[in-house]
Amino acid sequence: MTLALLLPLFAIFSHYDISASFEFSNYTSSIIFFTVYQSLLSALLSIVVGSLLAFLLNTYNNFYFVKIIAQTQSILFVLPTIITIFGILSFYGNYFEIYGLTGILIGHVILNTPLVSRVIYQSLNDISPNEKILSRQMGLKTMSSFIASEWPIIKKNIPSLFVLITFICFVSFTPVLILGGGPKYSTLEVSIYYSVIFSNNFNAALNLLFFQLIICFSIYFIFFKNFRSQNFLIDDKRHIKTYFNLTLLNLFGLLILLLITLVIFSPILFIIVKGINKELFNILTSTYLWEAIYNTLIICFFSGIASIFIVYNLLVLTHKKTKISESLIYSLIIFSPAVMAVGYYILLFKLNLMYLPNIIIVIILNSFFVLPFTYNYLAPSFFRVIKENDDIANSLNLYGLSRFLTIDLPRLKKSLITAFCVSSILSASDLVVISFFGTNNLSTLTQTIYRLMGSYRMNEAYSVSLVLLIFCFIYFFLAHKILEKNKWKIH
C-alpha cells in the first residue's frame, strides 16, 4: 500500500531537479486560500444535506420508492463529471448566477451528497431495532428519539466523511474549472496538471503537490483527533416497521426528501431527457458500444473485487492502528491523480512492464484509486462487527479465513455488497487511468462519452451516458440480487 503510493512518486522524483528554484507566486497563494475555503465549505454543505437525506431515507424506508432512492443514489457517482455539470447548468444555470463560488458549491454538493447519504444510510440501517423500540417505549418524541438513536451514528460518520469530501473537493478539477468561471476560482490540482502534462515541469508539480499534502494532512489531523468509539449494538433481524402516521411533520419530511432527491437526481433526469434521441438506435447497434460495455464490465468487476480485497486485508491488519491505515488511504485522493498516473507511467517504463496487457494495469490502478471510497463504505460496519465478534471468535478458536467465512462475513455481507458495487462503478467512471493506459481496443463507456464529445457527437455522447446509467443500474441490481440470494447461515 505504502509502496503503491510511494513508487510512482519516486519515479517522478527521478525527474526532479533539486537545484531548480521554485517561484511561489501570488496567484498560487490565492489559489491555496480559495481551495481550502471552497473545499471546507463544500464538505460542510454536502454533509448537512447528505445527513438530512440519509435520515429521511431511513425514516421513511417502508415506502418502496424511498428504498429505491436509497439503493440507487450511488449511481450518481458514475456519471462522467462533465455530464453532471451539463445537467447542473441546464437545471440551475437560468436561476442562479451559476459561474463562481455559488456554482462550485452547487456542483460539489450535488456530486457529493449521495456519497454522504449512502454511507450514513448504511450505518443508520445498523441501528438495533431494540434500540428504536426502546426509544419508542420510552415515549420519546421525534427530536429526542433522533438525538438518542440516530444522531450518535450520524456524528460518528461525520469526521471521516468530512475529510473524504474535503479532499475530493480539494483536488476537484473539471467542476471547479467550468463552474468557477475563470482562473480566479481554481484548485492547486489544475496547476499541478498543467505543470506535469503541459509544461513538463516536474519540479513545479512536485512542489505544488507538497503544499497540497501539507495542507490536507493538517486538515486531516485537525478533524480526526476525536474520532472512534464504536460502541453501539448491532442486530441482524433488522426488519423494523416504522408505522407511518399522516401527520404534518411526516408530510413535511417527505416533501423535503422529495425535494433533495429531485435536486440530487437532476443530472439523471437531464440524461434521460437528452439521451433518448435519434442517435440512440445507431448507438445501440454499433460495435464500439458493446465493446465498451464489455470492457467496462470487466474493469468494474475486477477492480471492485480487488479493492474490496485490499481494503479488507488492510482493515484486518491495521484495525488496531486505524490512524495509519486511514491516513494512507485518504492520502490516495490528495496525491494528485495526474501525478500518480504519470508516476506509474514512468515506473512501468522503468520496470519494463509496459508489455503487460493494458487491461491489467487499468484494473490494478483503478482498484487503488477507489480505495478511499471502498474504505468509507466498509470500515464503519467492519469495526462494529469485529468488535462484537472478537470474543466469540476467540472462544471458538477461529482465525483468519475461517473466522471471516463463518463469523464476520454473514454480518458484513450488506456492507461488502455495497462497497463492491460502489467501487465497481467508480472504476467505471474513471477517466484519468484509462486515458493514460487505455488503447484503441480498450475503451470504456466513460471514455467513449468523452471521445464522442471530442468529435462533435454530442447527441451520441448523451445516448452513451444513458446506456452507462442503465448499465450501472443493472449492475447494482444484479449484484444485490445474486449476492443476497446466497444466504449465509449466521452462527
Partner: protein
C-alpha cells in the same frame, strides 16, 4: 495470493500474440483513432501495401502529444500542433490545418462582431473558451489575440475576459456548453460548421470572420528520431499526403486537407468561406502568455 497474481501475470505475458509483421506504433489523440474518426480507414489502407501492423495508442489528455514521457515507445506521432513540435525529426508533414474562430448560432445571435474590438464592446455577449493551461485551443486564442494586438494585448484580454462565461478544461466541454445553448459564442475552428452541415444537415451554426485575420493551426505527423522503424515511419508520413487519404482526413477530422486540391476537399467544406490568415514570423512562447492571462483573468 502474491504468487497467484504473479503467475497470472506471467501467463498473460507469455500468451500475448507474437506477430511476424513489423508493428508501427502511432501515438495520436483519440478523436482521430476512434471508430468514427479517420484512423481506422487509414490503418486499413496503409496495411494493404506495407505488410505491417499499424497500432494506434491514443490519448484523450490534451497536451500529452507534446510530452516526452508519453512519446517514448512510439514510432510515429500524429496530431501534434505546429507550435508544440520541436522540428528535430527529419521526416514530418503537415497533414491538415484550420483556423481558430468563434462559432455562433445564427438563429439566436443577430449582431455579429467582426473583430476583437467589436466583440469586447458587445458587453452582453456570453463566450465560452478553453483554459489555456489545459487546452491547446485556449492557448491558440492567446497567441491569436497577442499577434493581432501586440501593443494592447493585456487591455484587450481584460475586456474580453469580462465577456467570458467560463474557461473549460478542453474543447469538448466548451463546445458542449455552446450546443446546449448556454453561450452565444464558442472558440473552435472555422471548419466546425462543416460537421453540422455534413453529418446533421444543420446549417444554423456559422463561423465568425474577423477582419484582422485568423490564426492558423496546423497538425503535424512525424517519425520519432529514436524509432527503429524510420523507413516504415517515413512511408506512413508520406502516405498521409496521398489524395484519397487527405480527403478522408478532411471529411472525418473536420479540418482542411494540407495539400488541398479539387479532388480532396469535401464539397461542403469548399463552400465555407475561408478566413483571412494572419501571417507572422516568430512563434510565441506559451508561458509568458499564460502568465499575463492569469494576471488579467484572475483579478
Amino acid at each position: 495470493m502474491k504468487t497467484k497474481i504473479l503467475s497470472i501475470i506471467f501467463i498473460l505475458i507469455t500468451i500475448s500474440p507474437i506477430s511476424a509483421k513489423e508493428v508501427l506504433v502511432v501515438g495520436t489523440y483519440d478523436s482521430f483513432s476512434a471508430e468514427w474518426g479517420p484512423g481506422p480507414v487509414i490503418e486499413t489502407e496503409f496495411e494493404k501495401n506495407c505488410n505491417c501492423d499499424v497500432q494506434y495508442v491514443s490519448t484523450s489528455q490534451a497536451g500529452t502529444l507534446a510530452n516526452e514521457i508519453f512519446l517514448k515507445d512510439k514510432d510515429v506521432i500524429l496530431g501534434v500542433e505546429m507550435h508544440e513540435f520541436d522540428y528535430t525529426s527529419e521526416n514530418w508533414n503537415i497533414y491538415d490545418y484550420g483556423y481558430f474562430s468563434f462559432i455562433y448560432n445564427e438563429e439566436t445571435l443577430k449582431d455579429i462582431p467582426n473583430s476583437f474590438e467589436e466583440l469586447i464592446n458587445q458587453t452582453n455577449l456570453k463566450i465560452v473558451v478553453q483554459d489555456p493551461r489545459t487546452s491547446p485551443v485556449g492557448l491558440g486564442l492567446l497567441r491569436w489575440m497577442k499577434l493581432t494586438h501586440p501593443d494592447n494585448f493585456p487591455t484587450i484580454l481584460k475586456k474580453f475576459n469580462n465577456n467570458v462565461l467560463t474557461y473549460t478544461p478542453g474543447w469538448s466541454e466548451a463546445y458542449g456548453i455552446f450546443l446546449e445553448g448556454k453561450a452565444d459564442l464558442v472558440l473552435s475552428y472555422s471548419t466546425s460548421p462543416f460537421y453540422h452541415q455534413e453529418y446533421e444537415d444543420e446549417y444554423k451554426y456559422k463561423a465568425i470572420e474577423f477582419t484582422d485575420g485568423h490564426l492558423a493551426t496546423k497538425e503535424i505527423v512525424y517519425v520519432r528520431p529514436d524509432s527503429e522503424k524510420q523507413k516504415l515511419g517515413k512511408e506512413f508520413v508520406e502516405f498521409m499526403m496521398r489524395d484519397d487519404i487527405q480527403k478522408i482526413i478532411a471529411q472525418m477530422n473536420i479540418m482542411y486537407p494540407a495539400s488541398e486540391n479539387d479532388n480532396n476537399i469535401p464539397d461542403k467544406m469548399r463552400q465555407l468561406k475561408k478566413p483571412k490568415e494572419f501571417k507572422y514570423d516568430d512563434f510565441l512562447e506559451a508561458e509568458p502568455l499564460i502568465k499575463i492571462w492569469l494576471e488579467v483573468a484572475s483579478s
